[in-house]
């Protein structure tokens, strides 16, 4: 498992109960993931009746946590102690792979 990065983050413009004193710029974290072939086949069969493809839901959930983690590491490296206004973006790359991006504004709060 990845080590914990203890930086508060929020997708609102402020961290509740704290004031922003310094801006450290935009931080990003991204990852490109693909599921293994066997689960792709399972999803292909589920495609027949439609509905949720659980393998992909889990894949994207895991990857998004990884992207978030990388973003927080970036923020820590810049000397920030919080990230505000976190946004997520996703795009699909060829071959069943998806890119997950998390970005936000690294700040110093007090």
């Amino acid at each position: 498992m990845q080590p914990q990065v203890n930086i508060p983050f929020s997708n609102t413009e402020t961290i509740p109960g704290m004031t922003i004193t310094q801006m450290m710029g935009v931080v990003t974290g991204s990852t490109v993931r693909a599921k293994n072939v066997f689960k792709d086949i399972g999803a292909g069969l589920k495609n027949m009746v439609g509905g949720e493809l659980k393998a992909y839901t889990e894949l994207l959930q895991e990857s998004r946590n990884e992207a978030l983690y990388r973003m927080l590491v970036d923020a820590q490296a810049r000397g920030a102690n919080a990230v505000v206004n976190v946004r997520f973006a996703t795009s699909s790359v060829a071959g069943g792979a998806a890119e997950l991006l998390a970005y936000g504004t690294a700040v110093v709060v007090q």
Binding site: F9, S10, N11, T12, E13, P16, G17, D40, A43, G44, K46, N47, M48, V49, G50, G51, E52, L53, K54, Y56, T57, L60, Q61, R64, V86, R87, F88, A89, T90, S91, S92, V93, A94, G95, G96, A97, A98
Partner: protein, 168 residues
């Protein structure tokens, strides 16, 4: 005697033709029946889960500050996602309908369904962790690409809902 056997042969020929016509359509048939059995059941379940939360006002809001103006004691960014795909038969019908343009109802339903599912999961996750409200909710939709070129037609739409869950 001879007439009987010839009429038997005609019947056998007709049955054979019908079967040989049906075999290529079999996947679509199975898909159609499977869709009709599976999807309404899941949608009904979702509706019941939504109704369990409908008694109070909606906990999700897109505002960046809570309306009540109370002090926030605890917060956490929550995100929930769901990947849904139209069934083969829905893809086929959608493909035919898209020749004529206008609204493609079968696809609208799938995307709407996944968005409701993602929102409902956000409500449930907030409730499970003891949060009062989720503010600044954002939603995002992505299509997943075909895998292995054009052979495997596995495509899906991913809906992500995220927001800041708060506790007073």
């Amino acid at each position: 005697m001879e007439r009987l056997s010839s009429s038997n042969e005609v019947i056998r020929l007709v049955v054979w033709i019908v079967i040989s016509l049906l075999v290529p359509l079999l996947p679509w048939l199975v898909s159609g029946i499977g869709t009709a059995m599976y999807q309404p059941k899941k949608k009904q379940e979702l509706l019941q889960r939504e109704q369990a939360f409908a008694k109070t006002s909606d906990v999700l809001s897109t505002l960046s500050k809570p309306l009540s103006g109370k002090e926030v004691k605890e917060y956490q960014v929550l995100m929930t996602n769901v990947v849904m795909s139209p069934s083969w038969i829905q893809t086929l019908v959608g493909g035919i309908l898209s020749l004529f343009g206008g609204e493609i109802n079968v696809f609208t339903k799938v995307v709407d369904w996944s968005r409701r599912e993602a929102q409902q999961r956000l409500r449930e996750e907030a409730a499970a962790n003891g949060y009062d409200e989720v503010i600044n909710v954002r939603m995002e939709t992505t299509t997943l690409s075909n895998t292995q070129g054009a052979k495997d037609k596995t495509t899906g739409v991913e809906v992500l809902a995220y927001g800041t869950a708060i506790r007073y």
